[in-house]
Amino acid sequence: MNDPVLEVDRLAVDIRTPAGTVRAVREVSFSVRSGETLALLGESGCGKSMTAQAIVGLLDPVAHVAGGAVRLDGTDLLTLSPAQRRRLAGPGLSIVFQDALTALNPVQTVGAQLAEPFRIHQRLSRRAARARAVELMERVGIPEPAARVGAYPHQFSGGMRQRLLIALAMALHPKVLLADEPTTALDVTVQAQIMELLRELRTEQQTALILITHDLAVVAEQADHVAVMYAGSIVETGRVAEVFSRPRHPYTRGLLDSVPAEVARGATLKSIPGSPPDLHSVPSGCAFRARCPIAGDVCAEQRPILVETGPGRLSACHHWRELTDD
């Protein structure tokens, strides 16, 4: 198998808050290979977007990378100069941000915004870049692209804006595409189209995809590997089918149990009780222990580290063995 294009190694992100600096992402490591999809799953607020933004080097100024390495084709991005990073932004790494509805510049035409990558990286003429923009719009299924290329973001519905952002991120056929909840605002038909598009991109361009989503069905359909995050750390990784069918972390299992489809309408859905720890006071030991049905004494004392639980599978649970039988 080929080498991973992107390797994230013990990445840590700190946030400065009025009450002091907190660590939002703690020692996250994973890697993706060309043409592969890694799904990043996890509780909302567990640091998925932070991780993604840290990888592309676009954290909010309140946050900063506090350690670790992000290697694209072997070069550590964190040691590059801003200019070198910029050169990679687009053709190397690109990202679809989560706030689709505000991520487009309200005062520029979408055409100009879509054309920008071509103007920056390929130095295309205005006209040529615009033509490419129209193509992109067409690819993501915007009706009448040639006419709407001159329209402004507010003239598009939420879902259309999301598609535009995806188009933008795909523009330069990046080696690695990070998509932060790219289809949340899309109806299923468009979602299917987009996923199809991403799949094509993956097979044709050998793009590696890091997909952040809450939609387990999408993960199941699209991803090769999955990494489950909880409270800033990765708690479980592995191939999708295996992780979903035999979760080896109680959090993953809780997540899978919460799928609504199985339950009768109006009935109570299962959910993991409690809420994730406050970043300011992550308890010692296992961060999940307060909500964990199988927590034991050791969980309070020792922070579990990712251990191999099978071929290509890692889990950070002291009691992963107890879950294997399920």
Binding site: E144, V188, S258, P260
Partner: protein, 337 residues
């Protein structure tokens, strides 16, 4: 309660609502975008109405009309028989308290200058009698915890929250007034399954305890299926199909609905078998220049000449009187899956 004998008293009645926006001229040379075109909707007490449809088909616009953020060009909105647009002063305030909305965009709908506590408590500053000032802190904490946030988050600002956390703030705020109707525009799209389950449980719980009604807009069909009693399907500003959830999901009559249902990814980890999908051909037509007749005909695999000429009316079918579809050539109870 005295109810009209014929039908269950509806809480919310929308009839023939249309809304046109003026936009920059498109290639078709038109600048009037008909985002809603004669939409009828009915919501009963304690009911959840699911609203699904393609993105850009006008769901949010409809929600905004329901909340009187947008004045419809035509048609009427009736809440318990009265036109909310005609309300003034105290009456209006009372109405406002009873109808709330969760906005689709969790970032833009929160003022970045207010902290979570102020955001959630904002409605009480208008409806002062609802929660006494002393109680507010406690109630905010309660609401935050209800949606799976921590009481300690009360002093944080929207931009310090993750996408899903913001979305929950929006839900907490809508719940603050203990309304009778909540229009939820994609309320759980950014939530992980566990929290989503928590929130959905919360909503159903409120419904069973307090009889809250919901208009529930979502792209996630499994969620809609779980929460909605009835579903309306929209396409290009029109309702194309409406009916009880099971009937619509299991026996879609409009081809668009069928396509929608088939496109939904399903979590089936064990088999790994992918289900047959109806992949819609063609492009979504421009709302500026919708097709004549049936709006779906350009992408419909069953379309015939009549579809181009006549606008199909929304009509119930014989065997399922509550299940109506606007199609000249409705599908015959073909379950897909």
């Amino acid at each position: 309660m005295t109810e009209p004998a014929t039908m269950e008293a509806s809480l919310l009645d929308v009839a023939g609502v249309s809304k046109t926006f003026h936009v920059a001229r498109g290639s078709s040379g038109r600048n009037r975008l008909r985002a809603l075109d004669g939409v009828d909707l009915r919501l009963a007490h304690g009911e959840t109405l699911g609203l699904v449809g393609e993105s850009g088909c006008g769901k949010s616009t409809l929600a905004r009309v329901l909340l009187m953020l947008e004045r419809p060009d035509e048609g009427s909105v009736r809440f318990e028989g009265t036109d909310p647009f005609a309300l003034r002063g105290k009456e209006l305030l009372k109405w406002r308290r009873r109808v709330q909305m969760v906005f689709q965009d969790p970032f833009a709908s929160l003022n970045a200058r207010l902290c979570a506590e102020d955001i959630v408590a904002e409605p009480w500053r208008t409806h002062r009698d609802l929660v006494p000032a002393k109680e507010r802190g406690r109630r905010v904490a309660e609401l935050l915890e209800m949606v799976g946030l921590r009481a300690g988050d009360a002093r944080r600002y929207p931009q310090e929250f993750s996408g899903g956390q913001r979305q929950r703030l929006g839900i907490a705020r809508a719940l603050a007034l203990e309304p009778d109707v909540i229009v939820c525009d994609e309320p759980v799209s950014a939530l992980d399954l566990s929290v989503q389950a928590q929130v959905l449980n919360l909503l159903t719980d409120l419904q069973s305890r307090l009889g809250v009604s919901y208009v529930f807009i979502s792209h996630d069909l499994s969620v809609v299926r779980h929460v909605a009693d009835r579903v309306s399907v929209m396409y290009l500003g029109k309702i194309v199909e409406t009916g009880p959830t099971e009937q619509v999901f299991d026996r879609p009559r409009h081809p668009y609905t069928a396509a929608l249902m088939s496109a939904a990814p399903v979590l089936d980890v064990t088999s790994g078998v992918r289900r047959e999908r109806i992949l819609l051909k063609g492009e979504v037509p421009s709302p500026l220049d919708p097709p004549s007749g049936c709006r779906f005909r350009t992408r419909c695999w069953k379309a015939q000449d009549v579809c181009a000429q006549e606008v199909p009316p929304l009509e119930p079918s014989g065997d399922e009187p509550l299940h109506a579809a606007a199609c000249h050539l409705p599908l015959q109870g073909a379950a897909i899956g």
